[in-house]
Amino acid sequence: MDGFVAWLESTTLSRAIVESRVIWPTCEIIHFIGLTLVIGIAGFFDLRLMGFMKRVPVSAARDLMPLAIAGFLLNLTTGMTFFIGKPHQYVGNVAWWAKMFFLLLAGLNAMFFETTVGARTLNLGAGDDTPRAAKIVGAVSLVSWLGVLYWGRMLPYVGSAF
């Protein structure tokens, strides 16, 4: 791992990210805008899956999901920029591993949803209750994304400091 970190930090791309006065703050701004899309759009869908806001048709709420995916892609790109810039700041940081754990959990949970209960929720309209499995998926998703946000924000304060 140390060798990989040392190699990554020696790359031109890594140096460019750290030496620029503009790249890091710009990526931070985009990272926060991306997080509102993920928390807002995915969180909204999760709440409906959990049985809240029943007047919302499940299938119609799902139409917004591409925006949550767009937010996630913004954060994946900017997050990778941070990692390439200062990998040593992350690989030894327990908060980063916790963030990655919740990211993996959110991803596996979404895959589970898409391949199993997802199909059974597509036809649910306004007022319809969701299956118990969908409620659990929604709760796990919401907790996972809040976990990703929590541990991301904790990065400078837990483990190795910035």
């Binding site: 926060f32 899309l37 807002g40 048709p57 119609a60 917004l64 946000l149 837990v158």
Partner: protein, 160 residues
């Protein structure tokens, strides 16, 4: 303002947020500020994108419960925002970008309130009314731009 900022910074809230070594002090207050931002701006984004036609099958009136989430997010951020400001009030009160951020939040809230009037009255949205439709499009776009700008100003406080 300088006197007020100095007083706030020396107050119990200011001292605790800044100086407590506890993980529940500054780090947690800052994290809650980010969670509140996600809830407030995220819920706004759901309504704005819906008004912009990203989910044509989603009835706008069904999104009314999101305003409760927005209020919760706003309340969280008003409280944590005062605490974060108090922790370093003299520095933040001297930052132009801080006042830009507050102005943007004020304008964004006004836009959100104007959109809400539209949403609560939208049981039968007269799609034939072209001028009303274009007004809604403008408001929704303005809301997204203002909230994104408020986030940008907030982030820049750490760098300027």
């Amino acid at each position: 303002m300088t006197g007020f900022a100095a007083w706030l910074q020396g107050s119990a809230v200011g001292v605790w947020t800044r100086e407590s070594p506890s993980i529940w002090a500054y780090p947690t207050v800052l994290t809650l500020h980010t969670v509140g931002l996600g809830i407030l701006v995220g819920a706004n984004a759901v309504i704005d994108f819906c008004l912009l036609g990203f989910a044509p099958r989603l009835p706008i009136a069904s999104l009314a419960p999101l305003y409760r989430f927005m209020w919760a997010g706003f309340a969280m951020n008003a409280i944590t925002g005062v605490m974060l400001f108090a922790s370093d009030a003299t520095t933040k009160a001297a930052q132009p970008v801080f006042y830009i951020k507050l102005t943007l939040i004020g304008l964004a809230l006004v836009t959100t309130a104007m959109i809400r009037t539209t949403v609560t009255r939208a049981t039968a949205l007269p799609s034939a009314d072209a001028s009303r439709a274009s007004r809604i499009t403008r408001l929704a776009t303005l809301s997204l731009v203002l909230w994104a700008a408020a986030i940008t100003a907030g982030r820049l406080m750490a760098y300027l």
